[in-house]
């Protein structure tokens, strides 16, 4: 799987971290999303699509 994040759009709501802490983290200074794993394993598909759906800033794209 491939995950793309757009740090410029991110509003640091942390929803992605709540959905998939293995893949997303937040930058210490301002909470902006940090991608920990660009090609996460397929088992995480459900969590990742959930992160994509709940990100209020539409800053996450997940490709299967």
């Amino acid at each position: 799987m491939k995950v793309i994040v757009d740090q410029d759009r991110c509003v640091a709501s942390g929803q992605c971290v709540l959905a998939a802490a293995e893949v997303f983290d937040q930058r210490d200074e301002d909470g902006v999303v940090v991608l920990l794993d660009e090609n996460p394993p397929a088992e995480l598909a459900r969590d990742l699509h959930h992160a994509e759906a709940v990100c209020p800033a539409l800053a996450i794209v997940v490709e299967d």
Partner: protein, 402 residues
């Protein structure tokens, strides 16, 4: 249809039905995705359905700036005089909104909030100890629901909790819809003055809290002292009224649904508690007067054109009760997956404090009923005063005993 014939918004809830959105609103949702309504005599669009609400709230052609032409004022005041309550970045558009918001996001990060969980657990446990040792019946709002988030946000911001009577009185005025523009301006002025003094004190003697962090921005010339005080007002206000109402109204909803109450009373599983919090947020959606926006550029939508200068309202309460998004939406079901609700809004203005709110609610809902399993109402449902008049829904008081 002329504007005088359009339904007025906000709408009234059905008598004796305190947890459900207004019935008329639900009829409108079933009839049409987009409805013309009347807000203080002026037309605005109502976006009735969940998927459409999410799509449009994420659309940058819609402005949150109260001074944008057509912005549907929640108080009837013209946009300019609403500016008096211009509480920080919530009523601004990007890039200024993002610039200011990013200055205060760090303390609300998921891991920073998790680090506060033990302290919040202590606050909740201590307040429950006090409840159990004190007289009954007791007003749960006053004795528990308000103090929890107030103590937490005061600690986070660096505001002395000893002043809580002062700011609770003033913030109450700010979220009421039935006060005059003058009363509103006075309350806002009081809070802004208070926060400005506090920022001044922290400029001289910074501590380890959010307001002290902002003084570094002031010293670096990135933020004016006035904007810092404005952000303080916003966070103080947003930090305690909303969560307090979720605690009290959520408790009442659970007391009216004993089998759901039992789910929380009988569990120590954090996953169950987390799920319950999301469902209560969805079901109650306490910000019941809709998110508001103004159209900046024409948008084609559902066979209509939202024109530049039109006002748009997103009643997230019925968005969260849309059967297309949540099957059997009027059922409070703590076991369902409700995480995609829009109780915190959607788009770049989605609630900044939600990780904190969620954590506080998880601690509260996961502790209160376990520790007081016989909790019950100490007044008839009909006697409980609901906040129909506020921009945040809830109860003014909740007498309980055990």
């Amino acid at each position: 249809m002329t504007i005088d014939e359009a339904p007025a918004y906000p709408m009234a809830r059905a008598a004796g039905c305190p947890f459900d959105p207004p019935p008329r609103l639900r009829e409108l949702q079933a009839e049409s995705p987009l409805v013309k309504v009347r807000v203080f005599g002026r037309p605005a669009w109502l976006v009735t359905r969940y998927a459409d609400q999410r799509a449009l709230l994420a659309d940058a052609r819609l402005s949150s700036d109260v001074t944008s032409p057509g912005y549907p004022s929640p108080t009837g005041a013209p946009p300019k005089s609403d500016g008096g309550v211009g509480i920080g970045f919530i009523l601004m558009d990007d890039p200024e909104h993002a610039r200011l918001r990013r200055m205060v996001t760090a303390p609300f990060m998921v891991k920073r909030v998790e680090a506060m969980r033990p302290a919040v657990q202590r606050i909740v446990d201590d307040l429950i100890d006090d409840l159990l040792a004190g007289p009954k019946p007791v007003d749960l709002m006053e004795a528990f629901a308000l103090p929890v988030p107030s103590l937490v946000i005061c600690r986070l911001l660096g505001v002395p909790y000893t002043d809580h009577d002062f700011f609770q009185q003033n913030s109450k005025q700010l979220i009421r819809l039935d006060v005059s523009p003058e009363q509103r301006a006075t309350a806002h002025g009081n809070l802004a003055g208070y926060l400005d003094n506090l920022v001044g004190a922290k400029l001289a003697d910074p501590g380890d809290d959010l307001l002290s962090g902002l003084t570094e921005r002031i010293k670096a010339g990135e933020l004016s002292r006035q904007d810092a005080a404005g952000m303080g007002v916003l966070l103080l206000l947003a930090g305690h009224e909303t969560t307090a109402n979720m605690i009290a109204l959520g408790t009442l909803a659970l007391l009216e649904h004993p089998e759901q109450f039992a789910v929380l009373r009988d569990t120590t599983d954090p996953a169950v508690v987390k799920g319950a919090v999301e469902e209560l947020l969805r079901y109650l959606n306490i910000t019941h007067n809709g998110r508001r926006r103004a159209v900046l550029a024409d948008i084609e939508f559902e066979g209509q054109v939202l024109r530049a200068g039109d006002g748009v309202i997103f009643p997230n309460d019925i968005g969260n009760r849309d059967p297309a998004a949540f099957p059997d939406p009027d059922r409070l079901d703590l076991g369902r997956d409700a995480r995609r609700h829009v109780a915190f809004g959607f788009g770049v203005h989605q609630c900044l404090g939600q990780p904190l709110a969620r954590m506080e609610l998880q601690v509260v809902y996961g502790t209160l009923y376990r520790r007081i399993p016989t909790l019950r109402r100490a007044a008839e449902l009909a006697e409980i005063p609901f906040k129909h008049d506020g921009s945040v829904y809830g109860v003014h008081a909740l007498p309980v005993t055990w």
